[in-house]
Every structure is written in structure tokens, then in C-alpha cells.
């Protein structure tokens, strides 16, 4: 899914003379059907989280959020994100630089390989790390000897999260930097800029909004990852439970309101992600209209 941010709405396509547009009743009908579909499929689940979370009242809601297991789940989720995101961002920038500023054989193969984690089921994403680092895994005995615990502990969760959110920043930056071309960088080199200065003063200002969006998206996915972490974490309550896993546990124990209360945190994060995306699109369109 190349360049998710570039799919912003332009006015041009929706300003249509009457002869190449549907008639008003048809338009109204289509809009109604589309909105009804979205209301059913997207809005309803969104609203349900808050309705169910607040069903037993405000106190229960807050109590669920204050619960020690919930707090430690939140802490773990934040720590994992704090480690995974900078690593993947650094990789994303490096990969985008190599792919978009240079031509080399195997470029397309590299792009496809970067997309791989996208195509892998979350459960398999966790499985591969259990295969490598689990007690029966390839490196299991070696790690056991040294007392290093990767699976069923923080490092395993971090690795699985890195794997799952691996492509996000790169995929955001690659189309963006591709469309920006190499001219500004080449001009800077001609003027004597070197390495890091070149990146910092020329490339970075151009990509900052796309980069921001990639990071936000990476974050949303990292904090919300369920399947992969579920396999790798061992579900040790209070220790290796991330927020999504905690939600699952509460749900399985029939503590529905608490489960939805904690879910609402992640929903608010998702809404924040969408808001940032809108902002990035708005800035992007301002930049485009200024330079055209």
C-alpha cells in the first residue's frame, strides 16, 4: 500500500459539471448506502467500546484503568514501543535513502523483501521467534546456558513487535522520497554539503511530515499488536502482558466492562493517529499548493 498519506482528497475530482455526474437522487442514494455501510462497519464498533466501557459507570471505568495489572501492561506496552519505534525509524530512513536516491540492481527485490512482514500472519510472526529463541528452539540451549531469557520476556516481545512494524516507516518514506527526486540533494553536494549535513538540512525538512506519519502509524501498530505478542509473551500477568493481551485476559474472565475500559485507551490512541494523519495531509496539501 504505497504512500498512504498521499491519498488525500483534492477538490478537483469532486467538482463535476452536471453532464459527467450522476443525477441528484442517484447521488443521494449512493451516499446514503456508503454512509450506512461505514456506520455499520466502522462507527458501530468504535462507539461500542466506549458504551460498553462506561456501562457500569464512571467509577468502574477509572478503577479498571487504575488496576495494577493494567498499569503494568500499559508500562510494558510503552517500553516496547519506545524500543521498537526508533529502531524501525532508523532502518526506515536508511532503507528509503538507499532505495530512492540510488539506482542498483535488485532494488525491486529489496522493496518486496521489506514488505514481507506485511504479508505474514501475526501468529507466524511470533512463532518464528519462538522457533529461534524458545527452549526447544535453535538457539534455546545456547541461551539457557547463559541464563538469557528472550521468549516469554521483554526481549521476545520487542523482537516480535519490531518484526511486525518493520515496514511501516520505510513504506511511508519510499514513495515520498521517490517523488521528491535527487535534485535538491545533488545541488547540495555540488555546493559542498557532506553526509549528515546533507541529510539534516536538505532531505529531512522535505520528509518530516511523512516521517512523522510513519512513526505515528508504527506506534499505533506497535502498541496494538496482539497475535505476535500473544505467541511470544507467555501471558505472565503483571510481567509480560501488554495492553492488548490484558484486554484479552479481562475479556476471557468475563470482566467485560474492564476489558472495554482498557480498550478505550487504545481507541483514543487510534483516533489520535487518525487526527495526526489528517494534519499531515493538510500540511502536505499546503506545501503542494505553495510550490505549484
Amino acid at each position: 500500500m504505497a504512500g498512504a498519506v498521499t491519498a488525500h482528497l483534492s477538490e478537483e475530482a469532486s467538482v463535476r459539471p452536471r453532464h459527467i455526474n450522476e443525477s441528484v437522487p442517484v447521488r443521494i442514494a449512493l451516499i446514503t448506502v456508503a454512509l450506512a455501510f461505514l456506520a455499520l462497519v466502522v462507527i458501530l464498533p468504535l462507539v461500542t467500546v466506549f458504551v460498553e466501557g462506561l456501562k457500569k459507570g464512571w467509577d468502574v471505568y477509572i478503577a479498571a484503568l487504575r488496576d495494577p495489572d493494567a498499569v503494568s501492561a500499559l508500562k510494558l506496552t510503552l517500553i516496547v514501543s519506545l524500543i521498537a519505534i526508533p529502531l524501525n525509524t532508523f532502518f526506515g530512513v536508511m532503507a528509503a535513502w538507499a532505495i530512492t536516491k540510488f539506482k542498483f540492481r535488485g532494488r525491486n527485490v529489496l522493496i518486496t523483501l521489506i514488505d514481507l512482514p506485511f504479508a505474514v500472519s501475526p501468529v507466524i510472526s511470533g512463532l518464528i521467534f519462538v522457533l529461534m529463541f524458545g527452549a526447544q528452539g535453535f538457539l534455546g540451549p545456547w541461551l539457557d546456558e547463559r541464563g538469557i531469557q528472550i521468549v516469554f520476556a521483554l526481549p521476545g516481545i520487542v523482537l516480535a513487535t519490531i518484526f511486525v512494524t518493520f515496514p511501516f516507516v520505510a513504506r511511508e518514506l519510499i514513495p515520498l522520497m521517490e517523488s521528491q527526486g535527487v535534485q535538491e540533494e545533488e545541488a547540495a553536494v555540488v555546493l559542498g554539503a557532506k553526509g549528515l549535513k546533507l541529510f539534516w538540512y536538505v532531505t529531512l525538512p522535505n520528509i518530516k511530515w511523512g516521517l512523522l506519519y510513519g512513526i505515528i502509524l508504527c506506534n499505533a501498530r506497535a502498541m496494538g499488536e496482539f497475535g505476535a505478542v500473544s505467541v511470544v509473551s507467555g501471558h505472565i500477568r503483571g510481567e509480560t502482558n501488554t495492553l492488548p493481551l490484558h484486554i484479552e485476559i479481562l475479556y476471557n474472565e468475563y470482566q467485560f466492562s474492564a476489558s472495554f475500559a482498557v480498550s478505550s485507551l487504545l481507541v483514543m490512541l487510534a483516533i489520535l493517529t487518525l487526527a495526526v494523519k489528517k494534519f499531515v495531509e493538510w500540511r502536505g496539501s499546503k506545501w503542494q499548493s505553495k510550490s505549484s
Binding site: S14, I20, N21, A119, P122, G227, F260, L274, K278
Partner: protein, 277 residues
Amino acid sequence: MKGSANRRVLPGFGLSLGYTIFYLCVIVLIPLSGVLVKTAGMGWADFWHTIWNARVIAAYKISFLTALAAAGINAVFGLLVAWVLVRYKFPGKSFIDSLVDLPFALPTAVAGVSLTAIYAQNGWIGSKLEPLGIKVAYTPLGITIALIFIGLPFVVRTVQPVLQDLEKDTEEAAVMLGAHRFRTFRKIVLPEIAPALLTGFALAFARGIGEYGSVVFISGNMPMKTEIAPLLIMTKLEQYDYAGATAIALVMLVISFIALLIINLLQARINKRTISA
């Protein structure tokens, strides 16, 4: 390619490419190859028996068919949503446009519990369908609905840019030649957006096959009936049947990679067709 590999104007090629490949290998390629190595350790007979017995076949079927149905429905309604967002004006359009991305930004577990709450027997919609004899939760229908939620942004976001960039002149020509709107849609617009629509369908499908978090709550996970393939892998892992889990994982990986290849080929075709500014 002009010039030798040593003469690059911009700095950092070696460093960036080297790091990229290194990180890619360590995080993605080597762990993924573990699946191959582990399965190679199984005998051929063992392997075959693991990936081809009644329960596993039922799981493939359920994953495959529900993903197909969901992607199909998303193709139709996703196209509708994209059409309405690109071509019409109405109040709240910008808000609705943001909303389309929600399934992409929302954690799968949250989607799962939320959808189950809605469609369970005592749920908001489930209770209304119950007297009609329609069960949603704990049936393949429920799985399909969850996959529709998950796959929607893929179709809409793939079709939207292509629809946006369509020139008005082909439709003007069609009107002048006497075509009514539906004919114009069928013969002019649809062929233009077909590759994008297909790509969106394939993306939603590929995502649907592997989806775990949003499905595992609403499906009930009954073997042979609503057990999806990823869950089967999970179950085998919990029973410490690593070999069995890995074997099934290999089958799923192969399918996913084929889907990924097809998607990338389709996307390359789309990019060739559009005229770059």
C-alpha cells in the same frame, strides 16, 4: 546504468544499503528461514500428514472462504465508499475520509472484543438477528464480518488515488457519444480502476487469511467449524507441537508470499498505466 558502481554523487550508499540488508536479514529473513529449517527436519510423510488432515483442511477452508467473501464484499462497498468520497460533496466528508482508516489504526484485539459484543446473542445487533434465526457470533458469518472490518481500508485507499486521478475527458467523450452514466461507469471508468480494485481485493484477502486478533474472539474457535488457520497454529504451539505448528505456518507463508507477489505485480501495472506528472 551509466557510470561505474563507484561513482555516486550522493553519499552514504554503501552505509545505507549495507545497514538495510543487515537489519533485514537479522529481523526478517533469518527468523523466517527458521520455518523452512524446522520443516525440513520433519520427514516428508510426517509433514504431509500434518498439513493435510481433516481438521487442518477445515481450517484452511474457513480461513480461505471467509477471507474471500469479506474481500469480495469490501471490493464492492469499498469501491462505493471511494467513489462517494472522491466524486461527491457532502457535509462531514473529511471526517468520513479519516474514519476509513480506523480499522487500520485500531488494535485487532479491540476490534475483536467490540465486534463480538455487538453480534453476540445479547449484543446490540445480535439480539435483533436472533429471533430471525440468524446467528452471527461463533459462526463463519461472524468471522466474515470481522474480516470486512479489517479489510475495508485496503480497498478504499488503493482505489481512491486512481479514481482521483482519472481525467474527465474520457467521460465527456462518452456523454457526447450518447452513453448514459451507468454505461460510462461500466465501459470507461471500471476498466481504468480495475487493477487498483483487484490490488485492493488481493490486499484485503491476504490480510484476511492471516488475521488473528479480531477473529479469535468472534469465531468461538470450534475445530472443524470456526477454527481459523492462525488459531490452529496457536493451539499447536500451546501443546508444544512446534513441528506441527511450523508445518502449517509454512503452508500459510507460501500462500501469503504468492499473494504478495501478485499484489506487487498488479501495483507495478497500475504505476505503469498512470501518467506521472
